[in-house]
């Protein structure tokens, strides 16, 4: 469904991605692991069109999306929940969800809204509250809900568990599985390798801008090198 081939992306003269190739098949949850500064966020921002790769290609459903403007990529069905959630702090919860619906057909609005509210009932309770006043967990739910309002076929999630208490993080991971069960393909960026791998069909390990390892979730979970480097076991 999504295929990155030999992608190079730089910030000025600093090359952050050094020829990475990643593939995500329809219906999968694929995780992209790596420590801080490995290039995970850069990879997602390149897929979303915020950063332009120097070389390589990006295909979505066999069609190249490289160089497409970010809003057109969202229209094609790829939506990102970025690192740090980035909800619109001055908007209410409902207004945030409305911004998510800008690209989807107007007649789907109520249906999508009901779906988001059933996934995250707390958002319904808080729908008229200013989003900036929500807790970290609620903001993450709002960020995911906002992305779902665009009816994505591929959801990119950048460290959704970051800064959340373990119970909340667990809840977010459960929701991710639920969203995937509804048929949405997921590319999940995480530092919490253990939890992410348990959830994922396949995974890639990024180190210094290059893919170091890839395999099924099960394989990676039992990989000795990975255990030492990332799982802290």
């Amino acid at each position: 469904m999504l295929k990155l081939t030999s992608i190079n992306t730089s910030y000025g003269h600093i090359r952050a991605l050094k020829g990475i190739s990643i593939e995500v098949n329809k219906g999968e949850i694929v995780c992209l692991l790596g420590s801080n500064g490995a290039g995970k966020t850069t990879a997602l921002m390149t897929v979303s069109g915020i950063l332009k790769p120097d070389s390589g290609d990006i295909y979505f459903e066999r069609e190249s999306i490289k160089g497409l403007a970010p809003h057109l990529i969202v229209k094609k069905g790829i939506c990102q929940v970025p690192e740090g959630r980035r909800i619109f702090p001055k908007f209410t919860v409902l207004e945030n969800l409305e911004t998510g619906a800008f690209v989807s057909a107007v007649q789907n609005f109520n249906k999508n809204l009901e779906r988001v509210f059933s996934l995250f009932p707390i958002l319904k309770e808080r729908k008229n509250q200013t989003a900036g006043t929500l807790s970290g967990g609620e903001q993450q739910m709002l960020a995911i809900g906002r992305a779902l309002m665009s009816n994505p076929r591929l959801l990119l999630l950048d460290e959704p568990s970051l800064g959340l208490a373990p119970i909340l993080a667990g809840k977010i991971f459960k929701t991710i599985a639920e969203i995937n069960n509804e048929g949405i393909t997921i590319l999940l960026v995480e530092q919490n390798a253990n939890a992410a791998l348990k959830l994922s069909h396949r995974g890639y390990v990024l180190e210094n801008g290059s893919i170091k390892l890839h395999g099924s979730g099960e394989e990676l979970l039992h990989n000795e090198d990975l255990k030492k480097a990332y799982l802290g076991i």
Partner: protein
């Protein structure tokens, strides 16, 4: 006397306010002070005179003055908006990721270009507005208001009201408010950020054009340099209200107009232009964020 000066100040203030809106909207979206904005007001003043001249040559002005005037204003707004749109594409967009000083220098370059272009093509001496209109008077509580003054206040009020509705009630307005909070995130939810930026420049330029038309008619005399002073005053109004805040630009403009009107009457008319600078210095010292600068829901 006091009420009279209040009306004069309000007339001027509403013009400052609608120019200030252009500064504040662009700042709200791009965090850029568009120092080429004041020149659009000057361009508007010249264009309306030029278009009226063309309609006069065609015989329309004598046949139907109101129609000729309205057509001239519409054409002026369209031209100025196109100019504002082009300036953004040519002078700012290529510098969007450049250091903050670069677009500022580019803006000054654009200003100097337009000023000199007008000076060379239209002459360096004052130009007069070719027609007098709206000279009838209203008397109200011993205050003398010309029809033109009343028209300026009403038109400005209407434009400000319409802008508020646009920003708060429409889809594009909501996209503008989202973009002003987080441009990258706006793009990630599917907003075409480049179009939103263009819309912002088009609206700002259109408002400045109307201000230029109104002042050309009000004072009756213009020159290629009026954009500079008006630009600085409107910028002061925007800073006074809290740059980035729509309501701030409106309130700031009115306050500045009133201070100028009253200051000219009671302190010294010679120092009329200095009041704006004094206010600017005082705000920058006391409350650089301006009146509404910290208000969370007001930035465009």
């Amino acid at each position: 006397m006091f009420l009279q000066q209040l009306i004069n100040g309000l007339t001027l203030g509403s013009v400052y306010a609608i120019i200030a809106l252009g500064y504040t909207m662009v700042y709200g979206i791009l965090e850029l002070i568009n120092f080429a904005h004041g020149e659009i007001y000057m361009l508007g003043a010249y264009l309306v005179i030029i278009f009226l001249g063309i309609f006069t040559a065609m015989g329309l002005t004598s046949a139907n003055f109101t129609l000729a005037l309205i057509l001239s204003i519409i054409l002026t707004v369209v031209f100025c908006s196109a100019y504002g749109f082009t300036v953004e594409k040519v002078a700012y967009k290529p510098l969007r990721n450049a250091p903050r000083l670069s677009p500022l220098i580019s803006a000054i370059g654009v200003s100097i270009f337009l000023q000199n272009f007008i000076m060379l093509t239209q002459g360096a001496t004052d130009r007069g507005f070719p027609y007098r209109f709206g000279e009838g008077h209203l008397y109200f509580l011993n205050v003398d208001i010309t029809y033109l003054q009343a028209m300026i206040i009403i038109v400005s009020g209407f434009l400000m009201f319409s802008l508020r509705i646009f920003i708060w009630k429409t889809r594009i307005g909501k996209a503008m408010r989202a973009t002003s909070q987080d441009k990258t995130m706006a793009a990630l939810v599917g907003i075409n950020v480049n179009s939103i930026i263009s819309v912002t420049f088009i609206i700002g330029a259109g408002l400045a054009a109307v201000a230029g038309v109104m002042v050309a008619a009000y004072y009756g005399l213009i020159n290629y340099f009026i954009g500079y002073i008006a630009g600085i005053k409107a910028f002061t109004a925007a800073v006074l209200g809290g740059i980035g805040s729509i309501r701030g630009a409106m309130v700031g403009g009115i306050i500045l107009g009133l201070v100028e009107g009253l200051g000219a009457a009671y302190i010294s008319s010679e120092y009329k232009d200095a009041f704006a600078f004094i206010i600017l210095i005082i705000i920058l010292l006391i409350k650089p964020s301006g009146i509404y600068g910290r208000e969370i829901d007001e930035k465009v």
